[in-house]
């Protein structure tokens, strides 16, 4: 097979870059900042090159690079992308340099360690989205916890230690069960394929053969791990702590990219690997998603802390994504993908804005604010824009995703009930309530808190970070086709894999049932 090294380079740039940063003296904080920015910008440019070379009419994995790694176990460094992963790769490389700029002045101590962990985090996230080998995927999935753990734990707020440890153990617990499932799957593949493998493309043909009674357990092991990351109600309790305690850059990446790893996992692994189990589980998981949408919105409504409010809004928004995935129609899955991007942009922007104002006032209590419109007009406008995008105002990005998900779930043959759509739609209304109400209390009214008087409006650097995000928000809102086209063929393929899984017949490989069992035993 022809090898394409672009994706490998994409991983190597931040990896080598972060190691190089370790060589810079820690006193040269500005040099470190510029170096990290340059490295992540190069990665972004490379991902754009990949985007322009990407053939969106092709539903197969592209840019495949397969290098033998652990031969005894048939594990290879096997990467490749399709439309779904490309969008998330772009989101990752796009947000990383922006968050680095946003933390230019807010991270003052241990800049070197911070940028090192941040670039390592980028390596981990990119790795998760491009791995086509379950072992490789798992390595990235787990290894990524380490930098995030340090980012929350070292640069976080008051309760950072609690939040960091909770984040780490919660996610680790879920993924360890997935590890057992991955190994089980690889051992199972010995039957039909004749060799132990964690190669995803091979497993796509094998896993749907698993008998239903076991398949459901496999599905649950994977889904549990991803549901924690999403986070799906009732596994969301780590999220508010992690979000509130993390530094702004950490929250932006956490909300913008990390949570998507969960929904991406559901889409990449659960649906195509265990189609029958997915269909069976769909109504239950969709119900949890709906509960998440409404619960997240209601809890967000009563928050007194702006950052916590945005954190809970994530629970609600990600509920939409999960609903879209488990409605299992092409519209809903397309909607889910675009909603992942949307959430990354608008929630990312909201966290950035909360960070901007927090840096000036050192408070996040809604009650401490009021009347910002007169004091910091640019900030107020930006917050309005990000809130409206998050609410799903037609013409902005949020609307597109939510509309597609609602449409898809309405006509979903799997869910087969319009109640899901009705309840989900109520979430849109709630979103308007909590965000606009928050906006009203923070920005309008008289200036009650005298400490606010005299704070500076957003500076050029902060505006520079938000402008690209806002351009994309409008772009997706007005012409989503650019982005929908990228993932169109890949989502169509996922849908096909659910309803007509490609199964290999063990007898075709010249093994009869008895031999197959023998192979499994061995």
């Amino acid at each position: 097979m022809e090898q394409n090294f672009l994706l490998t380079y994409l991983i190597l740039i931040p990896l080598i870059g972060s190691l190089l940063i370790l060589l810079i003296k820690k006193e040269q904080a500005n040099l470190i900042r510029y170096a990290a920015l340059a490295i992540s910008t190069v990665a972004f440019i490379l991902s754009l090159i990949i985007y322009f070379q990407f053939d969106s009419a092709n539903s197969d994995f592209q840019f495949i690079n397969k290098i033998d790694w652990i031969k005894g176990l048939n594990i290879s460094f096997h990467v490749g992308i399709d439309g779904m992963s490309l969008l998330l790769v772009l989101l990752t490389t796009f947000l990383t340099p922006l968050t680095l700029i946003s933390s230019w002045t807010s991270i003052e101590h241990k800049v070197k360690e911070f940028t090192f962990f941040f670039l390592m985090l980028e390596v981990g996230m990119l790795g998760v989205f491009i791995s086509l080998d379950l072992f490789l995927f798992y390595i990235f999935w787990e290894a990524m916890l380490i930098p995030m753990y340090f980012i929350i734990g070292i640069w976080g707020g008051k309760e950072r230690v609690y939040a960091a440890v909770k984040f780490f153990i919660y996610t680790m617990f879920g993924s360890l069960l997935m590890l057992v499932a991955i190994i089980w799957l690889a051992v199972y593949a010995i039957g039909p394929l004749g060799h132990f493998t964690t190669n995803l493309i091979e497993l796509y043909t094998v896993a749907p053969l698993i008998p239903m009674d076991i398949q459901i357990w496999m599905f649950l092991a994977f889904a549990f791990s991803f549901a924690i990351k999403v986070p799906l109600f009732p596994l969301h309790t780590w999220l508010p702590d992690a979000h509130v305690q993390a530094p702004t850059a950490g929250s932006v990446i956490l909300a913008g990219v990390l949570l998507k790893m969960g929904t991406y996992g559901l889409l990449r692994f659960n649906l195509p690997l265990f189609p029958e189990a997915s269909i069976q589980a769909a109504p239950y998981i969709s119900t949890l998603a709906i509960i998440g949408i409404i619960y997240g919105a209601l809890v967000a409504m009563v928050q007194t802390d702006v950052k916590k409010l945005v954190a809970y809004s994530s629970v609600s928004h990600l509920g939409f994504v999960v609903l879209g995935i488990f409605a299992m129609t092409q519209e809903s899955i397309q909607g889910a993908i675009i909603q992942m991007i949307n959430h990354g942009l608008s929630t990312g922007a909201l966290f950035l804005l909360v960070g901007v104002i927090y840096e000036r006032t050192h408070t996040r209590e809604i009650a401490d604010y009021g009347g910002l419109a007169k004091l910091v007009p640019v900030f107020s406008f930006a917050l309005m824009f990000a809130s409206l995008s998050s609410v799903g105002l037609p013409g902005l990005n949020g609307f597109v995703g939510e509309f597609l998900i609602l449409l898809g779930s309405f006509k979903s043959p799997i869910l087969n009930s319009w109640w899901f759509t009705v309840f989900a739609a109520s979430g849109v209304i709630f979103a308007a309530v909590y965000l606009l109400w928050m906006y009203q209390r923070v920005v309008f009214g008289p200036v009650k808190n005298q400490k606010l008087v005299g704070i500076k409006d957003m500076n050029q650097r902060e505006i520079f970070v938000l402008v690209p995000i806002f351009i994309l928000i409008i772009w997706i809102g007005i012409y989503p086709g650019t982005f929908l086209n990228i993932s169109d063929k890949s989502t169509a393929k996922v849908v096909k894999q659910i309803y007509n899984p490609i199964k290999v017949n063990p007898t075709e490989l010249g093994l009869n049932q008895h031999q197959t069992n023998e192979v499994i035993k061995r």
């Binding site: 005894g72 916890l145 070292i154 950072r160 440890v165 680790m172 617990f173 190994i183 051992v187």
Partner: protein
């Protein structure tokens, strides 16, 4: 004694250490510079034996009238013991100075314990196992009490001696029963005739006693009582050796003597026993470690839980499982040596800084040591991309292939619990600050030893393939 020079060449690593002990005795007796000479002589000795074993890993042969085996796994174990011991020597140079007086016998006894380990791994006869075990254990009892003036060290030594002797009693009694029913102590004979022998209750009782005795030595629950006290009381460098070489040697003896049985028709006989002790060790070790304030005791309980993971491999009893156990032991050896190495530096002159709170703020005060310890803690917790993760991965593969999926699931649950106490050290080092202004100045030798351990842990974690190939290839030759 030797049929040809080739045979002698194959047992050279064992011979090197044996000759080294005699030379070391002479150095200690007749040289005034013993203090400067002996540590480095030991390091060179261990390196020579270790590199020889690694280089000739493919030369599988049975030597000395079917008493010893060389090549393959045996050589990997030999390399593990000797290179591990070399690291312990490097750490000891600094450590011994803390006591104010110099003990030359320390290095000589260290060498004899390693000789014992090597005999255990190479044994093809139950008597050789016993010989190696006694040589190792008696050396260990002395090493545990090396610091004569400390009460805790005396306690550790005595406790280790009494319980160790008790366990050895089980093993000898087991060997006696096996000999009584099989009329031989040749491992090959016993394994090939196992089916015929297994009808004999006396024989089975013998094997079970033998296994129970070794359960003491690998520090598995419920035979673990000595572990925390002995680790706490012994000199830290010695505890590092107990927890790595000592444990690996016990596992190598189990593999050498009983593996063929597990893998054969009688596998199912012992699986329940091994599965149960593995389960209990994993959970007991992980849960009790959470409550520890003393880092040496914490590492002791962590060592119990690691014995549990390794016992999963024994219970699975397949070729994959042996490869997994060997890989895991190699990874564990270097993770633990590195961790104990850092503990030996931080604990200070009178071992005052053994409380985990001494590690608070270490990330600020000593970035290098803290980063190394963090890597080792993540590795011990089994988080990729470090070696501990791959070891667990491979052992779980073996378990699932042998229909022990339930044990693998419980194994991952226990490692999720263990993450908590490993992370606690990282939390203290990086997320907490302290009034404690303690800064230790590690000597270059200790630092090199720790860096080498950490590098091996990283390299084995990211590129496990080559090492794994060596292990699996040698297995095919042996069985």
């Amino acid at each position: 004694m030797f049929n040809n020079t080739q045979e002698f060449f194959n047992v050279l690593p064992i011979a090197i250490i044996g000759a080294g002990i005699i030379i070391s005795l002479l150095i200690e007796m007749y040289s005034d510079k013993s203090e400067a000479l002996l540590p480095w002589f030991s390091v060179v000795l261990f390196m020579a034996a270790g590199l020889h074993s690694l280089y000739y890993v493919g030369d599988v042969s049975i030597v000395m009238q079917n008493m010893l085996e060389t090549g393959g796994n045996v050589n990997i174990f030999h390399a593990m013991f000797t290179l591990g011991a070399a690291i312990v020597c490097l750490l000891s140079i600094d450590y011994i100075k803390k006591y104010g007086t110099y003990f030359g016998e320390y290095y000589i006894i260290l060498q004899s314990s390693v000789l014992g380990m090597m005999l255990m791994a190479a044994a093809k006869d139950l008597f050789v196992i016993f010989l190696g075990l006694e040589l190792m254990s008696i050396s260990f009892y002395i090493l545990a009490g090396m610091n004569r003036k400390k009460t805790k060290a005396n306690e550790a030594s005595l406790k280790y001696f009494l319980l160790g002797a008790f366990a050895t009693g089980f093993i000898v009694y087991g060997i006696a029963l096996i000999y009584g029913s099989a009329t031989t102590t040749s491992i090959d004979y016993i394994t090939t005739n196992f089916e015929a022998l297994s009808g004999n209750l006396l024989f089975l009782t013998g094997v079970l006693l033998f296994l129970i005795g070794f359960s003491f030595k690998i520090a598995a629950f419920p035979f673990h009582m000595w572990v925390p006290d002995v680790y706490e009381g012994s000199p830290t460098t010695v505890a590092a050796l107990f927890s790595t070489g000592g444990k690996a040697a016990a596992f190598s003896a189990i593999l050498a003597s009983l593996f063929a049985l597990f893998n054969g028709p009688a596998g199912n006989l012992f699986t329940p026993y091994l599965a149960v002790i593995s389960l209990l060790s994993m959970f007991y070790g992980s849960i009790v470690a959470i409550a520890q304030d003393n880092i040496k005791r914490m590492l002791a309980y962590s060592s119990i839980s690691h014995a549990g993971y390794l016992a999963i491999g024994l219970a699975a009893g397949s070729h994959d499982a042996v490869a997994g156990v060997v890989f895991y032991l190699a990874a564990y050896t270097f993770m633990n040596l590195g961790a104990f190495g850092i503990v030996s530096l931080i604990e200070g002159k009178d071992e005052t800084n053994l409380n985990i709170n001494s590690y608070a703020g270490l990330g600020n005060r000593q970035p290098l040591l803290a980063a190394l310890l963090a890597i080792l803690m993540f590795a011990l917790a089994g988080i990729p991309p470090f070696a501990g993760f791959f070891g667990k991965y491979y052992i779980f593969i073996a378990a699932i292939k042998s229909d022990l999926t339930w044990l693998a699931i419980l194994g991952v649950l226990s490692s999720a619990i263990s993450v908590y106490f490993y992370l606690r050290i990282v939390v203290l080092m990086y997320f907490k600050s302290s009034e404690n202004e303690l800064v230790v100045e590690p000597s270059r030798t200790s630092l090199i030893a720790i860096i080498i351990s950490a590098l091996i842990v990283i390299i084995l974690g990211i590129f496990p393939g080559t090492f794994l190939e060596i292990i699996t290839k040698s297995l095919i030759k042996i069985f």
